[in-house]
């Protein structure tokens, strides 16, 4: 029977072209997203992408050991946990001359890295360096000259271009010491010009840099240039021997780059990795779903042909074997093509994620054979599996069907459909029940899977929904149109299997797009509601760019008439022991006196009054995770690795948008390099005029003033905006694919309908009327897909809402109508565009059959 397979592929090329398109694109999507995902997981690959960065030209770099030592006891063994420091450790500046004296050293350059952000710039917080460290990269001046005066800076080319600054221009830089007015002395081109990752850099004269770093007698690193003929490795050995200090590391090669920059980059890549994992998951689901349903659809299209084979004596087994043979041929060829396209697609997609700001600049996805092999196997596997299920049914096609006129579809709801539909529906129910227990964050993860489970369930049960939905549409349609509405309605109702198959890609697109939008809107609305409930300050002041507000600015805010107090939380990171194992936690340094005046937070246990000296306050969620209770003695590890024994003063009754652990300024002093406040909450003295205070606050350089209400809504908008960009990319890819498959499936469905359209022509239907009928049928398909897709989205969002509500916070359900309309409208447009293909073909059908037929 294999020869028949080959022949059918040749003769039914239209149908098979459709299949090939779907498989090729599906495998392309799988391979591309798979490669991206692997690229984010491959640590050495990620490390290579940034190289040695600012230390490229140095032979050797000497810096302090950047690992914390946290003794750990998990109950069975004790070991030393040595995570990378979260606040960099520095070395004494005097080390420079010690190093310089070592034989083989030609020169040294000291590197200071500290917080400096251009007002209006959004990039990198720790961009400040002294000009002498520019030689380590090297940065070469492309315009202007080196910084000489106290208020002169040199910018890296990328930062200058982004802000449109040239030598001679004046701008402001936010530093720890306050906002400085500076003049751009020059622009320098550093490493990263070749498209690789380049951190932004602002160079000050060395003297100024020493002051701004907040630690005049310390430097971050000593860069070493070797004498001619001295190998970097040999020099490093010599330096290690000469220095003999265990707290120092002497590094070469890509290790020269400071661990903080590396971890910034890798965590940016890892962050994009979790998004890409979702992308890969969804694109895998979409392609498997579309490929399987397209194959099943093709089998249904060929019922008569199969029945004919049965009349000439083919057994059901033979028919099944033939169909599987065909799909193996189609699947293999198409998957191969998909892998080739996917190899290219991975690079394109990596470029897109960078330009969308999802992945950091410099990220790329090289061809990964593993991803290609998996995508290929999935492509072939799904092609064969999709046909396997359908062909068992098809093999049983009665021989007499070949002779029977195509009529109203019978027995559409097969046992398989009922089983899958009810099974997945039950699974969805279980998931929804579980979501109410697992809490907010987990329920969002659940939601992604829940959407897909519901899509499968509804796609299987879709034929049940076709007649009532079409009836709803056909009533107004037949009233407004002449007979076309009636015809479109009757055609659609009599072919629920066809309509369901056509609606499937729309269903999945609408379901995924709307669910994601709804889930994101609901989680951010809930977070905003939580913050709103706990914020009592009328104004929130933020830095207009990057890092945060320096202490100097906070001080100036306090001195404004009408301001009662200014409270802010300085953000840092550290570790807290959790059942013996240290967990990384977010930490905030807060003034105990003002904590209660700006936040409406109450202690669930303990007292905020006890929050003085060596005590900490923990928020609700973290207390649950860490198992802390009020009054408990424990040890926290600050970002620079310092262990601090503390008492838990209070457990907060809510999260209120605060960091996990709040520290008193006494604990944190000297351990946080960048004591910048991301948000300052301003309370007013009694009788103060709101507008006056606002105006006065707004006059401070480098700040953005918002009422707490404005701030909250911009916060939730920002988080939604970030997500929307990601969704746009993901959705764009999915909708392109489903759009093509809609057009494709519609075009394939035309084959069997030529006779029907010819008959309409013969009875006297004009081209306009045939177009009308086709449009009506496409609308029926769209309606079924959109209604079922929205149903999936609503159920998913309700599930997440219940999950969020289970954490005790006030959960707010939000379905962003405009965005949903956008999703639906896009699908409608795509479906109509896809419908153009078969409509054009329908219009070509003439009343007379061609003699060839």
């Amino acid at each position: 029977m294999f020869w028949i397979s080959l022949l059918s592929v040749r003769t039914r090329w239209k149908l098979f072209t459709g299949l090939i398109v779907v498989v090729v694109l599906g495998v392309t999507m799988l391979a591309a997203t798979g490669q991206m995902l692997l690229a984010t997981r491959d640590a050495s690959l990620v490390r290579d992408q940034i190289g040695a960065g600012r230390f490229e030209a140095a032979s050797v770099v000497v810096r302090a050991q950047q690992r914390a030592h946290i003794p750990t006891d998990d109950g069975e063994t004790t070991f030393d946990y040595a995570p990378l420091l979260l606040e960099a450790r520095r070395v004494p500046a005097g080390l420079g001359s010690t190093v310089d004296a070592v034989p083989g050293v030609r020169a040294v350059a000291l590197d200071r890295t500290f917080s400096a952000t251009l007002v209006g710039g959004a990039d990198g917080t720790r961009a400040g360096h002294g000009w002498s460290s520019a030689a380590l990269a090297p940065y070469r001046l492309t315009a202007g000259n080196e910084p000489r005066g106290r208020d002169e800076v040199v910018l890296d080319a990328g930062t200058a271009a982004a802000q449109n600054l040239e030598p001679g221009d004046r701008t402001q830089v936010i530093t720890l010491g306050g906002v400085r007015d500076v003049t751009v002395a020059g622009v320098a081109q550093g490493p990263g010009g070749d498209g690789r990752f380049a951190a932004p850099a602002v160079f000050f004269p060395d003297q100024v840099a020493a002051e701004l770093s907040g630690a005049k007698d310390f430097v971050d690193a000593v860069g070493v240039f070797a004498e001619d003929g001295v190998a970097a490795e040999a020099l490093a050995e010599q330096l290690r021997a000469a220095l003999g200090d265990q707290s120092l590391v002497v590094v070469t090669g890509t290790d020269k780059l400071d661990p903080a920059t590396v971890s910034d980059y890798t965590s940016a890549v890892t962050d994009s990795g979790s998004f890409l994992a979702i992308t890969a998951l969804i694109s895998a689901f979409v392609s498997v779903f579309v490929v399987a349903s397209t194959f099943a659809f093709v089998v249904a299209q060929r019922r008569r042909e199969l029945a004919l084979l049965r009349t000439v004596g083919a057994t059901p087994k033979q028919v099944q074997r033939m169909m599987i043979g065909e799909s193996a041929i189609v699947g293999t060829l198409a998957s191969l093509a998909g892998c080739v396209l996917g190899a290219i697609g991975g690079q394109v997609l990596a470029g897109l994620t960078v330009s969308f700001g999802i992945a950091p600049p410099g990220f790329s996805a090289p061809v990964a054979p593993l991803a290609l092999i998996v995508a290929f196997l999935v492509g072939v596997g799904v092609s064969v599996a999709g046909v396997f299920a359908a062909s068992r049914q098809a093999g049983k096609v009665a021989a007499v069907e070949a002779l029977r006129q195509a009529d109203v579809e019978q027995g559409v709801m097969t046992r398989g459909r009922w089983l899958i539909g009810i099974g997945f529906f039950a699974l969805a129910l279980v998931m929804i029940l579980l979501m109410a227990r697992v809490g907010g964050e987990a329920s969002v993860v659940f939601a992604i899977v829940l959407t897909e489970v519901l899509v499968v369930a509804l796609a299987a049960l879709a034929p049940l929904f076709v007649p009532p939905l079409v009836w709803l549409l056909a009533r107004p349609l037949s009233a407004w149109t002449d007979v076309t509405g009636l015809l479109a309605g009757a055609n659609s109702r009599s072919a629920p299997r066809r309509v369901a198959a056509l609606a499937a890609p729309i269903l999945i697109t609408v379901a995924i797009g709307s669910s994601m939008l709804g889930v994101i809107a609901t989680t951010s609305a809930t977070a905003a509601a939580d913050a709103r409930a706990h914020l009592s300050a009328p104004f929130v002041v933020t830095a207009s760019s990057g890092a945060g507000l320096p202490q100097d600015t906070i001080g100036r805010m306090r001195s404004i008439a009408g301001v009662a107090d200014v409270a802010g939380v300085v953000q840092t990171n550290g570790w807290a022991p959790n059942l013996g194992e240290p967990d990384q936690v977010t930490m905030g340094v807060a003034d105990p006196k003002t904590l209660g005046t700006v936040f409406k937070v109450a202690a669930a246990s303990g007292s905020l009054d006890a929050f003085t000296g060596s005590t900490v306050v923990v928020n609700r969620e973290a207390s649950g995770l860490l198992g802390w209770t009020a009054g408990q003695q424990t040890t926290v590890y600050l970002g620079d690795g310092t262990a601090v024994p503390v008492t838990v003063a209070a457990v907060l009754g809510a999260d209120a948008g605060l960091p996990d652990v709040l520290l008193t300024p006494e604990i944190a002093a000297g351990h946080v390099h960048d004591p910048l406040t991301s948000e300052a909450y301003v309370t007013l003295a009694p009788g103060a005029d709101l507008d006056d205070v606002r105006d006065a606050l707004a006059e401070l350089p480098g700040v953005t003033v918002a009422t707490s209400e404005e701030w909250l809504s911009s916060q939730s908008q920002n988080s939604q905006q970030d997500n929307l960009v990601a969704i746009a990319l993901l959705f764009g890819m999915a909708i392109l694919y489903t759009g093509i498959s809609i057009a494709n499936t519609l075009a394939m469905s035309m084959g069997e309908r030529t006779e029907e359209i010819r008959l309409m022509r013969r009875i006297g239907a004009t081209g306009r009327q045939i177009t009308g009928v086709m449009l009506g049928e496409i609308m029926a398909v769209v309606l079924v897909g959109v209604v079922l897709g929205l149903l999936v989205a609503v159920v998913t969002v309700v599930g997440v809402w219940r999950g969020l509500a289970s954490t005790g916070a006030e959960a707010v359900m939000d379905l962003p109508l405009l965005q949903l309309i956008g999703v639906v409208a896009t699908c409608v447009v795509i479906a109509l565009a896809g419908g153009m293909v078969p409509t054009m073909r329908a219009l070509k059908v003439t009343a007379a059959a061609r003699p060839a037929e």
Partner: protein, 256 residues
């Protein structure tokens, strides 16, 4: 020219009594390699209120002739008149309007839209023309073919003969000047075929309907008032008041 008894030559030119007139109609199907002359210089008139059968062996061009006469295809040369209208010059949409107002067609198979009931199928041409016929008119048309009680059935629930009769009822609903039938009994058994033929004959006798039918079945042709024989795209003979035997004999002589 073909001067045997009961046969006359085809009339040349137009007669006022004719519902359909073909004037020197030629139809070629050109491929890249060869031109096939399906119909060559046929001149024929079909009288009003009569039933004419077009006969000939397979490939003789009878279906092409019928399609030209009904305006389904445009002839390569020559003119086709329905009454006074030269339809060989009309565009596709004008032809569509003509098909739903002045002429009707019944085919060998696939005459009915499977998704519609008998009643909906019958009213379809009028609905396409923008009219909404009273259901009495639809039932009346079905009654004329003896199927008033099957109005709500879908094609799949009707026998082959019943489906053809629904197609005839649909053909009648527009009160067409001419009803074309292309092998209307071709897919039916003898019993069902007879049902369809008597329905057609009934229309001619009772309503004075003009019917033009292509067939290769002598039994069917014998129901007509006149039989035109085609061979290789040319009219070669004609019989009036045919009998199955005379038609069969002529056909045998033509090698069909």
């Amino acid at each position: 020219m073909f001067g045997t008894r009961g046969e006359t030559t085809a009339p040349v030119g137009r007669s006022l009594g004719d519902a359909v007139t073909l004037m020197d109609v030629t139809m070629n199907y050109g491929t890249k390699y060869a031109v096939v002359h399906a119909v060559r210089q046929v001149a024929l008139g079909f009288g009003r209120g009569s039933m004419t059968a077009v006969m000939g062996p397979s490939g003789s061009g009878k279906t092409t002739l019928l399609h030209c006469a009904a305006g389904l295809i445009r002839p390569s040369a020559g003119q086709v008149f329905i009454g006074e209208t030269d339809i060989s010059r009309l565009d596709e949409d004008s032809l569509a309007r003509l098909r739903r107002s002045r002429i009707s067609m019944v085919f060998q198979a696939y005459n009915l839209l499977p998704a519609l009931t008998a009643e909906q199928n019958v009213m379809l041409p009028l609905r396409l023309a923008g009219h909404k016929p009273p259901s009495s008119q639809v039932i009346d048309a079905l009654r004329q073919v003896g199927l008033a009680d099957r109005a709500k059935h879908r094609p799949g629930q009707l026998s082959g003969g019943q489906q053809q009769r629904v197609a005839i009822a649909r053909a009648l609903i527009t009160n067409p000047e001419v009803l074309f039938a292309d092998e209307p009994t071709g897919a039916l058994d003898v019993h069902n075929g007879r049902e369809v033929l008597s329905a057609l004959r009934h229309l001619v006798d009772v309503r004075g309907q003009t019917v033009i039918m292509a067939t290769h079945d002598p039994m069917a042709a014998a129901c007509a008032d006149r039989v035109v024989f085609l061979s290789d795209g040319v009219v070669v003979a004609e019989q009036r008041q045919p009998t199955p035997e005379s038609v069969a004999a002529k056909l045998a002589a033509l090698g069909g």
